[in-house]
């Protein structure tokens, strides 16, 4: 029993890393642009498909492939922001962004159906199956690498936000978009780059998601988006570290509940969210004032 519980906790922590890779882009985009990117789920799947193409057709290692997919997703993100998000203005901007990002999701899903069809595909590599043996179970390397990548990416984003001139511009835009414009920050450029970065990091999440699950198809993003939204709300909207912490916490809880009663695991996932928000309405690491624009 102790081994099973330990396995569940470690599974939850490592699985949390996978979800953090998918969620940090969402929370970053919300933090700067004040929009809920409903298309985040399909972005994860798009990232997975890009990795799939490179792996199957060019025989590139999944992690090496990120050197291509991350920049590609950055360009896609900037283009989406320029085409669909940037034109939104006025008081309805946030609500309109929901529709705009939903439209983006439907368009990308349609294109993926055209390109790959409805059948599932999966990403494979030796480290997806093999792992390290400990305490009576195996920890697949893909989860270990994915978790390490999540921590590294969160750290890199922190450095970007707190140690660079661009980061100062991003944080100024997060705090007050109008004031940032008044002090000469090109908020359109900051928004486009931030959206691009948010989508780019999702490429990493997509790759790990595609390698750890039982396969994915163009529709798989819909099962993800509600969980990703729950994670960034719990972590505190706009908080990158919060997304990682929330993902680890929620996946661990879910994994433990799964031992006894798997049907409750999803309910407990959202019940935990409600419970935390009752005591911390801004989430675990959220700052109410930062969002009060």
């Amino acid at each position: 029993m102790a081994s099973t519980l330990t396995h569940a906790v470690i599974n939850g922590i490592l699985g949390g890393g996978v979800y953090a890779l998918m969620a940090v882009g969402l929370t970053l985009i919300f933090g700067v642009l004040d929009i809920i990117n409903i298309a985040q789920g399909i972005m994860v799947i798009l990232g997975a498909y890009l990795s799939y193409v490179l792996s199957v057709h060019l025989h590139l290692d999944l992690f090496v492939g990120l050197l291509v997919t991350v920049p590609a997703m950055f360009v896609i993100g900037v283009a989406i922001q320029w085409l669909f998000i940037r034109p939104l203005r006025g008081r309805d901007r946030t609500s309109m962004s929901l529709l705009a990002s939903y439209a983006v999701a439907i368009i990308i899903e349609g294109l993926l159906y055209l390109a790959f069809g409805p059948n599932d595909v999966s990403l494979s590599a030796s480290y997806v199956i093999s792992g390290v043996h400990m305490l009576g179970f195996y920890l697949p390397y893909i989860y270990l690498y994915g978790f390490a990548m999540a921590v590294a990416l969160v750290a890199a984003l922190y450095l970007l936000l707190y140690r660079t001139r661009f980061g100062h511009s991003v944080r100024a835009t997060m705090q007050d978009r109008t004031a940032a414009m008044l002090v000469g920050i090109d908020v359109n450029r900051v928004s486009a780059l931030t959206y691009g970065i948010g989508v780019a990091v999702t490429a990493a999440g997509g790759m790990v998601f595609g390698a750890t699950g039982g396969g994915f198809n163009p529709n798989s993003g819909y099962d993800l988006i509600s969980r990703l939204l729950a994670l960034i709300i719990l972590g505190g909207l706009g908080s990158i570290g919060g997304a990682l912490a929330a993902a680890v916490l929620m996946l661990t809880i879910e994994s433990i509940v799964d031992i006894w009663q798997p049907t409750w695991s999803v309910a407990v996932f959202y019940a935990a969210l409600v419970l935390v928000l009752m005591f911390r309405p801004a989430g675990l690491f959220g700052r109410q004032s930062a969002r009060a624009q």
């Binding site: 569940a8 599974n11 199956i129 039982g214 099962d223 879910e254 798997p262």
Partner: protein, 422 residues
């Protein structure tokens, strides 16, 4: 100026989204080609299929089955001299959308007949719409007990499932396990089940049978059907190290996730059978790999290698049109094709598309033909003539293995070979 622009943009985006949603959720209405045009009005047949969403792989396979059947019928001159035209809507795998679709098909599109959607989950609400409108509901993928015992069907008796009732589909498997000599008989078994009306009943029946035969249950839990990750449930099964795993699955990703997690944990069950997924041909093997598929079993009434002459004709046509080989054909194609065949026999026998007459005819003691074999319905629309077989992947081929001694059965691969990483 800005408010005008914002309003314009609002309307534009809203229109675009609505247009996209309508495109996704509405028709892929298609007429079937083939044959010479006739002056008689075509027979319009409506169906809602999961062309997107969780069941999209099955929905697309069903679409191919319906279209292949319609093409064959029209190429042969139609039914009673009338061409067949299909009106297929996309329900996005949603039990809500499927109700909207059948309401539209009947009330707006004025179809003559309705064919069923994919999955028991969607068939139950869809058949209730058909019942309210006095339509026969001939379907091929709604075999769960809940479909037949739905109050609407108990009153209208309008559901006709041409395929296998799923309740008993694992019986040949359970009988085979029970028949094994004591030295070869497994000692323990696990029964992970997706929360779905299709997946659970046959697995629970198997559990009861195997427990009666002295095989100890080490895991029996239902897990949510729609989660992005099945690894925790699969890991918990692997930790119990059962000899047999009977997986109540509904689709390929569920099976693939369990297989991957088992392989990661270096756990190979001696016997591994799934309620659904491995019967989807290349849609299955392309995800899990032909090597890993070896030894995995699944129940069904049909496979590409069937000796049924009608089936062989359909298989040849399918391969000519879509390529591949017999093992790679999704069993959904045959289920959909059978729906069309049964409907055609009913139309011919009743002389038209009067749904009241068709319902009465299908409940009469008549035995019909299909690529899946003979079809004869009981009072609730279950196919009493359906024969359950167990199929197994062996070295890249999908073969019939149970019942032992049945025509077409080959030697079962037991125990299941170890995972091959692809």
């Amino acid at each position: 100026m800005r408010s005008h622009r914002a309003r314009f943009l609002s309307v534009g985006i809203t229109s675009a989204v609505l247009a996209a949603m309508l495109a996704a959720c509405s028709s892929s209405s298609s007429s079937s080609s083939g044959g010479s045009p006739t002056t008689k009005a075509p027979i319009l047949i409506g169906a809602s299929l999961s062309l997107t969403g969780d069941f999209s792989a099955d929905g697309k396979a069903f679409e191919r089955g319906y279209e292949l059947w319609a093409h064959d019928v029209n190429a042969a001159g139609g039914i009673l001299g009338r061409q067949v035209r299909l009106d297929i809507l996309n329900d996005a795998s949603s039990p809500t959308q499927v109700v909207t679709n059948y309401t539209k098909l009947i009330s707006v599109d004025h179809v003559n007949l309705t064919f069923g959607p994919f999955s028991s989950l969607l068939t139950t609400p869809a058949s209730a719409v058909a019942a309210r409108n006095g339509f026969a509901f001939i379907e091929g993928a709604g075999g769960a007990p809940s479909v037949f015992t739905d109050p609407a069907n108990e009153q209208a008796h309008n559901v006709f499932d041409v395929s296998l009732p799923i309740q008993d589909e694992l019986v040949p498997f359970a009988n085979w396990v029970k028949s094994l000599p004591a030295s070869q008989r497994p000692k323990t078994a696990a029964y992970p089940m997706a929360d779905d009306p299709f997946a659970d009943p046959p697995v629970q029946l198997t559990q009861a049978t195997l427990e009666g035969a002295g095989i100890r249950t080490v895991y029996s839990k239902i897990f949510p059907a729609e989660v992005p990750d099945y690894t925790p449930a699969a890991d918990n099964v692997a930790a119990k190290n059962p000899d047999v795993v009977v997986l109540g699955s509904t689709d390929v990703p569920t099976v693939a996730a369990f297989m991957k997690a088992f392989e990661q944990q270096h756990f190979t069950p001696k016997i591994f059978i799934c309620a659904a997924g491995p019967d989807q041909g290349t849609a299955f093997t392309s995800v899990v790999g032909t090597g890993n598929a070896s030894g995995i079993m699944v129940p069904n009434a049909w496979y590409g290698g069937s000796s049924n002459a009608q089936s062989q004709k359909m298989v040849a046509e399918y391969i000519a049109k879509y390529g591949g080989n017999a093992s790679g054909i999704n069993a959904d194609v045959a289920e959909a094709y059978s729906v069309g065949q049964v409907a055609m026999q009913a139309i011919v026998a009743t002389g038209g598309t009067d749904n009241t007459k068709i319902i009465a005819y299908l409940h009469s003691p008549v035995t019909l033909n299909s690529v899946q074999g003979p079809v004869k319905f009981d009072s609730l629309g279950r196919n009493l003539q359906a024969t359950t077989f167990i199929f197994q992947w062996q070295n890249g081929k999908f073969v019939q293995v149970l019942p032992v001694g049945a025509a077409g059965s080959v030697k079962i691969l037991n125990p299941k070979p170890a995972w091959t990483n692809g």
